[in-house]
Structures are given as C-alpha cells and as structure tokens.
C-alpha cells in the first residue's frame, strides 16, 4: 500500500513537472506565434488588439503587400540583408579557416602575439569605435556600401570563429597530415582535400553564428548605412515603426518582424546541435 502511494505521488510529481514545462514553453513561444499568426490578418483587423491572435475575418497576406509599399518596398532591404549576411558567412568562413589552419599548423614569428591580438578584440566593445570605422570606410571608398558593412561584420566575427577553427584543426591528428604529405599533397591540397572534410562541423558552427550575427545586427547598420536604398531589414523596419513613412501600420510591422525572425528560427531548428556546440565551446574555454 505504501508502495502504491509513493508511485501515485511520483506520477503526480511528473504531471506537475510537465505542466510547468508546458506552461513555461508556451510563455516563451507565445510572442513569436502571436506575431506570425497576426501577420495573416486583413489590414482592417490588424488595427484591433490581437485577441485572439489568429485571423477571425479571413486569412490574408494584405499586411505583406502593405509592407511592400513603404519606402523602397520589402524586397530591396530583404535583398540587402541577404547579401550582407551571405557575404559575411562566406568571407568569415574563408578568412577564419585560413587563419585557424595557419595558427594551428605553422610556427612563425609573432604567432602568439597575433593570435592574442585577434582574440583580445572581443574585450573591446565595437560600439565605442563606430565613428572611426565610419571615417576609415570613407577613406577607402566603402562608406555607405553593403561591402563596407560586410567588412565590419566579418571583423567582429573573427575572434570567435578563428578560436573555433584553431581548436578544430588542433583536434586533427598530425599522422593524417603526414600520411597525405607522403603521398605528395602540398599545402593547398592538404587544406582543401584532407583537412576540410575533417573540420566541417566547426565550419557549420561559425557559418551559423556569422549569419545570425549579420542578419540581426542593428547599431552598426544604423550608423553606417545612411542611404535608404542600403537599409537592411532591421533598419528599414525601425524606420517604418518610428512613423517615418507616415502613420504606423502595425500589421506591416508584424509582417516585417515575421520576415526577420523566420530565417533565424528555421536555421536554428535545422542546425541546433551546431549552435549549442559553439555555445559550449565558448563557455568551456
């Protein structure tokens, strides 16, 4: 009888735990779900408070169409965001794979100094050097260009991604390299054919962080992109939400926020274990 009671109590505990878990999960998911659903209301309904969150007077993509009429439309800033994030991913992967390989496998003068120099930039907030970055970009003819913004984003990614890549290359046993060298592989074939397949989890991790960093960045884009045709999505949406294009259309804001959130959420759900890996690597060291 005592056993039955304790079993009952254990089941009761489990129900309570899962109830807590589900309620907490709903609290965290609610704002996201609320926005995605509300964005599909007709414009008329979007002006009302979102109670209930789902469309009650019919499903509509009117808000997305309205969003497209503000400023330069939706497609141009979306294109800018895609370009900036894509280029940031490509360049930061190339630069940090090269640097990670160099720092891991070669001995050269100033090596440790350069490594510490790159890593220590993480201590300095980029917010405090934005004005000079603006002047440097002007000096080299990249001010108000998406390429200039990409250069800044790549630089911000380097401490984390070079650290990740150096560790990834360090974990590859030297015997594999020596065997390949015996077979006559030179440095370039070694890196591309032998090493890359072994360090690709690290590459996926840094690519994911580079994408999220560039896609979501706000302050640098706000300061450096002064021309409306160069706005990325966060800047364009903030301009819209501040009433810069006339009365604030909250339906369009919901649609815009959905466009900004969905790529991050999808990538995270697909590549979750790489994301957590990166976080752990940062946390353990």
């Amino acid at each position: 009888m005592a056993q039955a009671r304790s079993r009952k109590r254990r089941i009761g505990m489990q129900i309570a735990e899962h109830a807590t878990g589900i309620i907490a999960s709903l609290l965290f998911l609610a704002p996201i779900v609320w926005t995605v659903l509300s964005a599909f209301k007709p414009a008329q309904e979007s002006r009302q408070p979102p109670l209930p969150p789902w469309p009650t007077t019919g499903f509509s993509v009117e808000n997305y169409a309205t969003l497209n009429t503000f400023g330069d439309g939706l497609w141009l800033p979306a294109q800018n965001s895609i370009y900036v994030s894509g280029m940031t991913v490509v360049l930061s992967v190339i630069v940090s794979v090269l640097a990670g390989y160099g720092f891991s496998r070669f001995r050269f003068p100033l090596k440790n100094l350069l490594f510490v120099l790159i890593l220590s930039t993480i201590m300095i907030p980029f917010q405090s050097i934005l004005t000079p970055i603006f002047l440097v970009l002007t000096k080299i003819g990249l001010h108000n260009t998406l390429t200039g913004l990409v250069c800044v984003y790549v630089t911000l990614q380097l401490p984390f991604s070079i650290f990740m890549m150096r560790n990834a290359f360090d974990a590859v046993p030297r015997e594999i390299e020596e065997a390949a060298r015996m077979d006559g592989a030179n440095n370039v074939t070694m890196l591309l054919r032998v090493m890359l397949p072994l360090v690709w989890p690290g590459i996926v991790t840094i690519a994911l962080f580079a994408f999220l960093g560039a896609w979501n960045e706000f302050l640098a884009a706000l300061v450096l992109m002064t021309d409306q045709s160069k706005f990325t999505l966060p800047i364009m949406m903030t301009a819209l939400q501040s009433g810069r294009f006339g009365a604030i259309d909250w339906g369009a804001v919901q649609a815009g926020v959905t466009v900004m959130m969905v790529p991050c959420l999808v990538l995270f759900l697909l590549l979750q274990r790489f994301y957590i890996r990166g976080l752990m690597a940062g946390a353990v060291k």
Partner: protein
C-alpha cells in the same frame, strides 16, 4: 670533433631553412585575418583615442584641444545620468535573468521525456535579434493595437487602456520583461553546461549522507559551477552595459529621456549632434569600463573549478 661539426652543419642548416620557409607560409594564412583586424579594429581604436583629444565636427577642420573633452565629460550631467541608468538597468536585468534562467537550467538538466522540446522552446527567443524582438514587443506594448493593455482592459484588470510606455516604471519593467524573455534561454544553456560538468556520484553520495535538495544545491551545485556562474554573469553584465537596440526602438530614450543608456548617449552625441571628438572621449570612458569588466572576468575564470 671539428670535422663532425663541419659535415653535419650544412645538412642541418638546409633542413632548417626548408622547415623555416614552410613555417613562414603560416603568416600568409593568417594575413587576411590580421589585415581585417588591423584596418577595422586596431586603427579605429587608435583613432578613437586620437579623436578624443580634438574638437572634431563632421564637416570642416578639426583642432587639437588636449583634454578639454574629458573635462567637459565631468560636467556632463546627462552623460552621468545615462551611466547611472545603465548601471541600474544592468543590475536589475541581470538579477531578473538569473532568477528565471537558473530554475530553467535545473529543469532541463535532468533527462526526461520532452526535455528536448522544452529546451528548444526556452531557447527560441535567443536566436532572433534584439531588433526583431524590440519591434515585436513595441507592438505588444502599444496602447491601442497591442496586446497587454487591451487584454488587461478586457479582463477588467484596469479601468481604461493604460499606456505602458508613457511613464518610467511600467516602461522600464516592460523592457526588463522583454529582455528576460529574449535572453533567459541563452543564460540557461550556459548554466546547463556547468550543471552537467558536476559528477553525478557527488550528488548521490550527498544524498546517501542524508543531505536535502537545498543543502546539496548550496554545498555542491553552487561551488562546483562557480566558473560557469562567473561566465554567465559577465556575459549578462557586458551585454547590458552596452544595451541600445531595445531602448532606441521601443522607447526612443523616453519617457522624458529617462531611459537613455550610455551607448545611446554616445550615439546621440556622435551621430545626431555630430560632435565626433566628444563622442570619442565618451567612447573612451565606456571602453575603460568594459575592459575593466573583462579583466575581472579573466580573474574570475582563471580560478580553477573544484571543491576547496
């Protein structure tokens, strides 16, 4: 003796030169990274220090004025107010994040069915950007078309729709709620890694000795994850000291400029008033604060984890 040396030296030297040349190639591999960091980080850093000693308008010539910008900072009560507000916000938001994230970490650390789902749900807001999250909440907090005030009104909790963003207290706590929602999952994962590094047999041994859950938490869990706690704390503090997006997007520094943070004030001075030299001097102050925080972090993290 000499003959051996004479024979062996050229061979060894050739080998060294060959190895040396191969090693120098390493510099080529790291060159692009170093170039980017120098052009977009080291040079701007030096320029910030240099500009802070100048009167530097956006247009026209700049002139050297020594430490005048720094003397002006001492009298800039609005900057000190912004710094004070930033400190206040940092303390409150960090406490709030830990109060939510620690129970969540304990909750997801134990394996049970659905743990993966819970962990992913709690973490989802962390991958969307601060700008997206701020835009989203600026809608939820809107008095007419938003969620909170109309819902409270419909439920009869308030007599009329209250504008949450019109006065300091509700506006401030709305921001805290939004940041906790967005960041708690991130802190939770960091804390979880610390919890998982505690050997389970330690907990079991304590349980056999009759230690209750609270005693085990205080005597085993907390001391053994000191390093992880320090890391989560520093990440939260550094992130909060640099807060900008949410105050700019949701509150525009209002109501009545009461929520201007340090970065916001620097942004205003540099890119709204175009006092670039003064903005640089303010940046130097912020930079010193952050570097000091980083050095404290290094000290805290260097202490080895373990029972002492």
């Amino acid at each position: 003796m000499t003959s051996i040396a004479a024979i062996s030296t050229p061979a060894r030297r050739r080998k060294l030169v060959g190895a040396g040349r191969r090693q120098w190639i390493g510099l080529l591999y790291v060159a692009p990274a170093v170039a980017l960091v120098v052009v977009f980080f080291i040079i701007p850093l030096g320029m910030t220090a240099w500009m802070s000693l100048h009167n530097w308008p956006l247009m026209g010539a700049h002139s050297f004025i020594g430490l005048d910008n720094y003397w002006a900072i001492l009298r800039d009560t609005r900057f000190w107010n912004a710094l004070k507000f930033t400190g206040y916000y940092t303390v409150i938001v960090t406490i709030a994040i830990f109060v939510v994230a620690f129970p969540l970490a304990l909750f997801i650390e134990r394996p049970r069915p659905l743990t993966g789902f819970y962990r992913t749900s709690f973490f989802m807001p962390a991958v969307i950007g601060f700008a997206s999250a701020s835009l989203l909440w600026s809608w939820l907090l809107n008095v007419d078309s938003g969620l909170f005030s109309p819902a409270a009104f419909e439920l009869g909790l308030t007599e009329k729709k209250v504008n949450l963003l019109a006065t300091f207290q509700p506006a401030f706590w709305s921001i805290i709620a939004m940041v906790v929602w967005k960041v708690a999952g991130f802190t939770m994962i960091i804390l979880m890694t610390g919890l998982q590094s505690i050997p389970p047999d330690l907990q079991e041994a304590a349980m056999i000795d009759g230690a209750g859950p609270l005693a085990r938490f205080r005597a085993i869990t907390l001391p053994l994850m000191r390093r992880t706690l320090a890391l989560a704390l520093i990440l939260s503090v550094a992130g909060s000291v640099l807060a900008f997006d949410q105050f700019y997007i949701i509150l525009r520094g209002g109501p009545r400029n009461q929520t201007l943070t340090a970065v916001y004030w620097i942004f205003n001075q540099s890119f709204v008033s175009f006092k670039l030299g003064y903005g640089a001097a303010l940046s130097m102050v912020l930079l010193v604060i952050l570097v000091a925080l980083s050095l404290i972090q290094l000290r805290l993290l260097r202490q080895p984890e373990g029972v002492d």
